[in-house]
């Protein structure tokens, strides 16, 4: 490529414009026999590169939010020799280890975004280096894999760091192979096979296969275009560099065409017999046998285990594109297909840019930028992000943020998100006030079980722990531990559970494990010290708050009904307000007005002086069903506002009863956040208008 970036005077450029482009075969032959003058690479403008890097950094930090990736699908990592040893006995283990280590930076938004942006930038740089000696190509071509990496980052469940690392290693290997090519063919093939074997062990089958593909393509290109070799050999470039510089300086000073006689002598490549032309590509291609042999040596490796981390759907497509785009780009570049239109054989890309009208240049750039943004937007997992955000914020006990994320939901949340939303509603004092202002579906239990999916285990364990059902919380925490691995929040949770179960030694086991996780060491050490001082952790708020409400009676079954669990908690401690409010919510969700109204007498005991809105709604609906004119039950009077709204609801229901098809949509606008709407239609997605909210009494 450097060879083509030849300095031209205006005269020669004009001449070049007038000359018809030569036939590709002639051009190849001409290039092969008369290598043209190498010129120094085009001076890279760092400002656009820096701006793009900054944009990627900001995109990852603000849109993707690395802590969400960390919480949802971040790999487990422990800073000890055992964990490293576990990764040494299988191909790709080292890259997995390094990727898991880097993925820990996602714990901090800014740092994680910087690391991901840097990985993308490195892939970009390596792709540019790979394509540079292969011929002229569009400047955006090396940007494609980096863009795909950013798209993959927006999918949340793909092992981004491992894939980026593997890709980078394959690219670096291919670039190194372009530069370092020992002349004795035996050594060359041997080193290639060794490199494949090493890459197979370090990065696994896919990166090593990519390396083989790129290497074979490059060897094929060399067989077709031997002139490429003169560009790629560093030592040759270095040999001629001072002389080239002098020539260029002279040309620039004199503004004259380079005399043909002053060109460096053509590099004499050994003539290769036609029969031996394809020896190198074939031998390189046979390196696939090394990979196949490796797969046979490690029987636990299969296609399923190799491709499972790529996920399904769009993630799988992006991963596949990421791995095929580079060989395609290299092939196209070598073949000269889709290369920028050359305005004369010797025109440099810089010069072409300078010749392009300024507005046109910017239009192209903006179009490229818009296409990139469109790709990122199209591939971003808009549905999953709020769900992960709900789980993450609930884990951090940031309850207002949970509700904020719940408001951005586009579809009915899964039971695990539902649990977190209900927990957030309780903590903000709005469980029976705004329960139906958020998505609810009839039949979905307030405290689900694993029948509703394994994802419920973590939030269910959190809720049960807070309620005081410590043994069941332990059960679900262990199910989650087996299902999603030794995540930091689970280790912390199990340590808390064991303290509450009066098993401080078991708690230490989990805390000692947590101590090995980057960014969690300090927290674990602090708790270990507190545990050493007081095995009951009586002074720790998260423990002391729960201990008075622990269940005191045993009950055994394979699945325990929600109502029974909550009543058992109230029997253990009748001041368990969370259990009381959950019990009311359970009745509301099941439309059980009678038992709900029986709890009214206990509202005062829990300091709930103002009747919660949904309870009032259930009261008025109950009274209406009995055709009673009263507005009071058990000393609790329904507020005039609730009575008025109920009247409006009934009026709308009567008015629109003829149009049954879109009745829920029309009523949802004004009554979607009410018990009546939920009771009538069996589900609600909240109201479109602002809800009636009040703080904790």
């Amino acid at each position: 490529m450097g060879r083509r970036k030849q300095q031209q005077t205006p005269d020669s450029a004009t001449a070049a414009k007038q000359t018809p482009p030569p036939h590709p075969a002639e051009a190849l032959a001409s290039e092969a026999s008369h290598p043209t003058l190498p010129t120094p690479p085009h001076k890279t403008s760092w400002l656009p590169v820096a701006l793009l890097f900054l944009a990627a950094w900001l995109y990852i930090e603000l849109r993707i939010d690395p802590p969400l990736r960390y919480y949802h699908a971040g790999p487990v990592f422990f800073l000890n020799s055992d964990f490293l040893a576990d990764h040494l006995d299988r191909p790709g283990g080292l890259v997995e280890y390094a990727a898991a280590w880097l993925a820990q930076t996602d714990c901090r938004a800014m740092l994680g975004a910087f690391v991901t942006a840097s990985l993308s930038a490195l892939v970009w740089g390596a792709a540019a280096l790979l394509l540079k000696p292969a011929g002229r190509c569009h400047s955006w071509l090396p940007f494609v894999p980096a863009l795909l990496l950013l798209a993959l980052a927006g999918r949340y469940d793909a092992p981004l760091h491992a894939i980026a690392f593997g890709l980078l290693l394959a690219l670096c290997g291919a670039v190194a192979w372009q530069v370092w090519r020992p002349v004795p063919s035996g050594l060359r093939w041997g080193s290639f096979w060794l490199a494949v074997a090493a890459l197979f062990y370090v990065a696994g089958p896919i990166p090593s296969l990519l390396f083989v593909l790129l290497g074979t393509l490059w060897e094929t290109a060399l067989a077709m275009k031997p002139s490429l070799d003169s560009d790629s050999s560093c030592f040759q470039a270095a040999q001629h560099a001072p002389r080239i510089r002098n020539v260029i300086r002279t040309v620039r000073e004199k503004d004259q065409p380079v005399p043909q006689t002053e060109r460096p002598p053509a590099l004499s490549l050994p003539a290769q017999p036609r029969s031996g032309r394809f020896t190198s590509p074939v031998v390189c291609g046979l390196a696939v046998a090394v990979i196949a042999g490796g797969i046979l040596v490690f029987p636990e490796m299969s296609l399923a285990t190799v491709f499972t981390p790529w996920g399904t759907g769009l993630s799988l497509v992006v991963c596949a594109l990421l791995h095929v785009c580079l060989p395609i780009a290299l092939g196209l570049t070598v073949a000269g297909i889709g290369a920028p239109v050359a305005r004369g054989t010797a025109a440099s890309s810089g010069e072409r840019r300078r010749r392009m009208p300024h507005p046109t240049r910017w239009v192209w750039r903006l179009a490229g930028l818009a296409a990139s943004v469109a790709l990122l937007a199209a591939s971003f997992d808009w549905d999953r992000k709020p769900l992960i955000r709900i789980a993450w914020e609930a884990q951090q006990s940031r309850w207002e943020r949970v509700l904020e994320a719940a408001r951005s939901l586009r579809r009915m949340p899964d039971p695990s998100a539902q649990l977190a939303i209900n927990q957030a509603l309780y903590h903000t004092g709005r469980l029976n006030q705004d329960l139906f202002a958020f998505p609810q579906r009839k039949g979905a239990p307030l405290l689900p079980s694993m029948r509703q999916g394994m994802a419920v285990c973590v939030p269910l364990s959190n809720t049960l722990l807070e309620l005081g059902q410590i043994s069941l919380a332990e059960h679900y925490a262990h199910e989650a531990l087996e299902n999603i691995g030794q995540r930091p929040h689970l280790l912390w949770q199990l340590a808390r559970i064991n303290v509450l179960q009066d098993r401080p030694r078991a708690a230490r086991v989990f805390l000692n494990r947590l101590r090995l996780v980057p960014f969690h060491r300090e927290k674990a050490v602090r708790r270990l010290e507190a545990l050493a001082a007081d095995p009951t952790l009586g002074s720790e708020d998260d423990i002391a708050r729960v201990r008075p409400f622990l269940v005191t009676r045993d009950y055994a079954d394979s699945e325990i009904p929600t109502e029974f669990l909550l009543r058992q908690l109230l029997q253990s401690n009748r001041r368990n307000r969370m259990a009381f409010e959950y019990l009311m919510a359970h009745y509301l969700l099941n439309g059980q007005s009678e038992p709900l109204l029986q709890t009214l007498g206990a509202l005062d005991q829990h300091g709930i002086w103002e009747t919660p809105r949904h309870v009032e709604e259930a009261m008025i609906a109950h009274l209406a069903s009995k055709e009673s004119n009263q507005t009071e039950i058990a000393g609790r009077r329904v507020s005039p506002d609730t009575i008025r709204r109920y009247g409006e609801f009934l009026a709308h229901l009567d008015k629109d009863s003829a149009r049954v098809a879109d009745l829920p949509e029309r009523l949802a606008a004004g009554f979607g956040d009410t018990f009546w709407f939920y009771q009538r239609f069996g589900m609600t997605f909240g109201a479109i208008r602002p809800t009636h909210t009040t703080g904790r009494q």
Binding site: E300, S471, H478, V551, T552, A556
Partner: protein
């Protein structure tokens, strides 16, 4: 208030004061240092019997200190000296083996000294452990799994070389679709004959019979097993187990709804269940042959209804 003391009183008081000071100083001069106590170790490897072929019994010194010094010695053999800032004592395997083998039937001493934060060495009372005259079986076979409840992903049967720390898998569930495996038993502790029961998603719940490195799959479901000393019979239970949970204390519990015993004849690949060990009204389980093979011991209990489990812990 004026206080006037008699001169003799003052003299007596002064005498008493001097005398008491003298006694105190004498007591201080003659006070012997407190006798050394036993060190706190985790695990508590004090007063135990060590098989002569056991791997190094590493431990942690649970004493506060800046440096730690440990000496392992016996009446014979070369002592092992270890020192460092860490309270973790990792004994090198070869010197440990040599020391144990040199002291078979005798004892070894563990002498520990800790440098206090003030810079003084404190020596603890030596720990004495006896060395058994006979060696232990070289390997231990066990199932390794996380504290599981309902679901599981990885588990396996492993063997551990007790003379080193080397652990190798016998069978891991990743080899058969992450199914379940356990219920393994050896014929008179011999590694040549073994039975192992697995549960798979696709291939049923077969029993694996291993005899002299030959593995045979037997399509018989079995639970708890016991080899007859002859190696031709295998008593096994067939259970109908279900997991349930408690809301207080240990959460996990298992209910056996039905259980009978059967005798598997290895030669003919048949199972017989005589009424004496498979009564419909009782649960028979946990079989164990007498060492001479003349009697089969097992547990028998009345069958209970599903709801009865709530009555038990």
């Amino acid at each position: 208030m004026n206080l006037r003391l008699h001169p003799n009183t003052c003299r007596i008081a002064l005498g008493c004061l001097l005398a008491s000071l003298h006694v105190a100083s004498a007591a201080a001069d003659t006070a012997a240092p407190s006798p050394p106590r036993m060190p706190r170790l985790a695990p508590d490897y004090t007063d135990i019997v060590l098989p002569p072929n056991i791997a190094p019994m590493n431990f942690i010194i649970q004493e506060d200190g800046a440096r730690f010094r440990t000496r392992l010695s016996g009446p014979a053999g070369s002592p092992i000296d270890l020192a460092g800032r860490s309270p973790r004592v990792a004994i090198p395997i070869r010197p440990w083996n040599d020391l144990l083998r040199a002291n078979v039937g005798s004892h070894i001493l563990i002498e520990i000294a800790v440098l206090s934060r003030e810079g003084e060495w404190f020596e603890f009372q030596a720990v004495t452990n006896r060395v058994a005259p006979d060696e232990l079986d070289g390997h231990l076979v066990y199932r390794r799994l996380l504290p599981l409840y309902n679901i599981y992903r990885t588990m396996g049967i492993y063997q551990r070389d007790l003379e080193t720390f080397k652990e190798t898998p016998v069978l891991e569930n990743t080899r058969f679709g992450r199914g379940c495996l356990n219920c393994h038993t050896f014929l008179q502790h011999s590694p040549d004959h073994m039975a192992l029961h697995i549960r798979t998603q696709d291939s049923g719940n077969p029993m694996l019979l291993i005899a002299s490195n030959q593995v045979a799959t037997v399509a018989k479901t079995s639970g708890y097993m016991s080899w007859h000393p002859s190696g031709r019979l295998l008593a096994a239970s067939a259970n109908k187990l279900s997991l349930f949970f408690h809301t207080k204390g240990e959460t996990r519990d298992v209910f056996d709804a039905d259980s009978d015993l059967g005798i598997y004849r290895v030669d003919s690949n048949t199972v017989v269940s005589p009424p004496a060990i498979a009564r419909p009204d009782r649960l028979e389980t946990w079989p164990c042959w007498a060492p001479d093979g003349r009697a089969l011991y097992f547990s028998s209990a009345p069958k209970l209804g599903n709801m009865d489990r709530r009555r038990f812990r």
